[in-house]
């Protein structure tokens, strides 16, 4: 039973990371109507920035964390303004291709700037375990869950209780009418991209200590985040969080207790989740059904 609980908590920790990245995907899908294939690479880039600040410039972890988030926010806004906005008028295919271009560009840049070497990243949390009711939990797992939950709570407050959040929701749901009542729609969408970049940066920085930092840090995590977002409903922030946690715990338990799957087939299982959900219930658990227009 203790072993099972440990697996659940460590699953929740991975799930919190998937949920953060899935939430970033959902934010961008709501704002721009596309899936951002560069989300993982944006997160990797941010994580490298944080690594440089702490390792090469001797910063403390948390100041570096905050500065990285600010830089990521600016980066996300910049990406939307420079690369995405001019292509939004065309077909969806066009924006998707631009995000794939960003994926390649950022992945190449990371290798170019920081080389492809695998690097160890310090964790902000102690590596000890803590004993709760006779079961040893890793403090790092609990810290990861805590940071991710705090972020989600802050975002929820922003969207639900501030005028800015209301304007952002309006811009995403109905741009034309939002513009009529004085919302600066383009900037709201950029803001969405900025927040998505922040979420990605958090996911990257939380993931790096346990899996090491290399240019493909987020490749697999992005697929899990896709699966989480699809599972929860690609338009539902709540769905992304629930989907991420469910996927994290589910994959961890399957990996630990189903011999056939083990550690190797976790990625194909996530793929299976994507395919099954898309075919059986494309709107996911919490999403609304799309109505197709001519």
């Amino acid at each position: 039973m203790g072993d099972f609980l440990q697996q659940v908590v460590s699953g929740l920790a991975s799930g919190a990371i998937y949920a953060s990245l899935a939430l970033a995907l959902v934010l961008i899908h709501r704002a721009t109507g596309v899936i951002n294939f560069a989300q993982g690479e944006m997160a990797t880039f941010s994580t490298y920035v944080a690594w440089t600040l702490t390792t090469n410039h001797g910063w403390q972890y948390w100041p570096a964390f905050v500065v990285t988030l600010l830089l990521s926010f600016a980066g996300g806004v910049g990406v939307h303004q420079v690369a995405i906005r001019p292509n939004e008028k065309g077909s969806v295919l066009r924006v998707v291709i631009v995000t794939i271009g960003l994926l390649l560009l950022l992945n190449g840049l990371v290798t170019l700037i920081w080389s492809g070497e695998v690097r160890a990243v310090q964790s902000p949390f102690p590596t000890r375990t803590i004993d709760i009711g006779g079961v040893a939990f890793s403090i790092q797992d609990l810290g990861t869950i805590g940071v991710a939950f705090a972020t989600v709570a802050l975002l929820w407050l922003l969207f639900q209780y501030t005028k800015l959040g209301l304007a952002m929701r309006a811009a995403a749901v109905n741009p034309a009418e939002a513009r009529l009542v004085g919302v600066r729609v383009t900037w709201m969408l950029s803001l969405g991209w900025g927040l998505a970049a922040v979420l990605g940066a958090i996911a990257g920085m939380l993931a790096a200590p346990s899996v090491f930092l290399d240019p493909n840090l987020m490749a697999a995590i992005l697929i899990y985040a896709f699966a989480a977002a699809v599972l929860g409903g690609i338009d539902s922030p709540l769905g992304a969080v629930v989907g991420g946690l469910a996927l994290g715990v589910g994959l961890n338990l399957i990996g630990a207790y189903v011999d056939f799957v083990g550690a190797d087939l976790r990625l194909p299982v996530a793929l299976l989740v994507i395919l099954v959900v898309l075919v059986v219930k494309p709107s996911g658990i919490f999403g609304k059904r799309e109505v197709r227009k001519v």
Partner: protein
């Protein structure tokens, strides 16, 4: 008939150039251009699906993997001669594409991009897991096997003694040109019109009596079969397959090639194939970092969407239209 004259002359010229080319270049160059032919086949397939039918695929590397492994397994375990594995690879991959096309019917645009992307990412893990069948992480070696034509002794064709690389060049280009003509015949008539109708508006196509299910699965099957042939040739050319022979980067590179060449056009694809084969080499000359090709690919892909959404073929088309005026 006059409308056909220019394309026919151009195609005949292309055949002549392809035939005599190895006589003027080194063995190594011939090998590089064999890869151009392989990418050409894959790009034709991807363009049938993405360019003509509007169904984006980020997973064509996975179909190439199926083709490549079909060839490798047939050659290594069942003693089938390399060239006979090519049609078999086309059949197997075509069937796989058809099967994937059925669930894909329910996926539009973005979701399809996502599903195919996930398949390409997951493929290496699947190949590694089913070790008994695929040789696991160490892959399958074909070099020096009697099934691989010209690998040890030169192959004589019509009285010419061809080295492995030259044989490879002619094999790949023959397959590529036949594939090219086949695609042209498929796309010029009724089928091509139906596919383009599906791309331009699914609802409009459906109300004009075009069966979405039929043409989308057809496009998937044909497209995958092309990718399978390319994968099969790729396995023969590298004389070796392992799970990393067909990474996600390959799938993305193919999409870049098709976009740069021009979606929905066959003429630009040769340029696209040259681009896919040689761009990493050119990028390496600018910077030695292994990240350089990705940066150049990324920048070109984004710039293409800014200035030439229809790719190189669109540019040529626009220039021709201006000249005629």
């Amino acid at each position: 008939m006059r409308r056909l004259a220019l394309p026919l002359v151009a195609f005949a010229a292309l055949i002549v150039v392809v035939m005599v080319f190895p006589a003027f270049v080194s063995d190594f160059r011939a090998q590089q251009f064999a890869y151009v032919a392989i990418y050409l086949v894959a790009l034709i397939g991807l363009n049938v699906l993405t360019g003509y039918t509007g169904q984006i695929s980020l997973g064509h590397g996975a179909f190439m993997a199926i083709g490549g492994y079909t060839t490798a397994i047939l050659m290594a375990d069942h003693g089938v001669k390399d060239i006979w594995t090519i049609p078999l690879a086309a059949l197997v991959t075509g069937a796989a594409g058809f099967l994937f096309g059925i669930p894909a019917l329910r996926l539009s645009g973005l979701y399809l991009a996502l599903a195919t992307f996930a398949i390409a990412v997951a493929m290496p893990a699947v190949l590694k897991r089913f070790e008994g069948f695929t040789g696991g992480g160490s892959g399958i070696n074909l070099f020096g096997t009697p099934e691989l034509t010209a690998s040890l002794t030169p192959q004589s064709v019509l009285g010419f003694e061809l080295s492995f690389n030259n044989w490879l060049y002619y094999l790949c280009w023959t397959v590529a040109l036949v594939s090219y003509v086949a695609a042209w015949l498929l796309l010029r008539g009724r089928t091509g019109r139906a596919l383009r109708a599906v791309r331009d508006s699914e609802t409009a196509a459906q109300s004009s009596g075009v069966s979405l299910a039929r043409y989308k699965t057809l496009a998937f099957a044909v497209s995958a079969a092309y990718a399978g042939v390319a994968g099969s040739l790729f396995a023969i050319a590298t004389t070796f397959v392992n799970p990393d022979t067909f990474p996600i980067a390959l799938s993305i590179t193919l999409l870049v090639g098709v976009v740069v060449a021009g979606l929905g056009s066959l003429v630009g694809l040769i340029a696209g194939a040259v681009f896919v084969q040689f761009l990493p080499l050119w990028a390496q000359e600018i910077s030695r970092s292994p990240g350089a090709p990705a940066v150049v690919y990324g920048v070109i892909l984004i710039l293409t969407m800014f200035v030439l959404p229809m790719g190189a073929a669109g540019l040529v088309g626009r220039m021709l239209a201006k000249l005629r005026r």
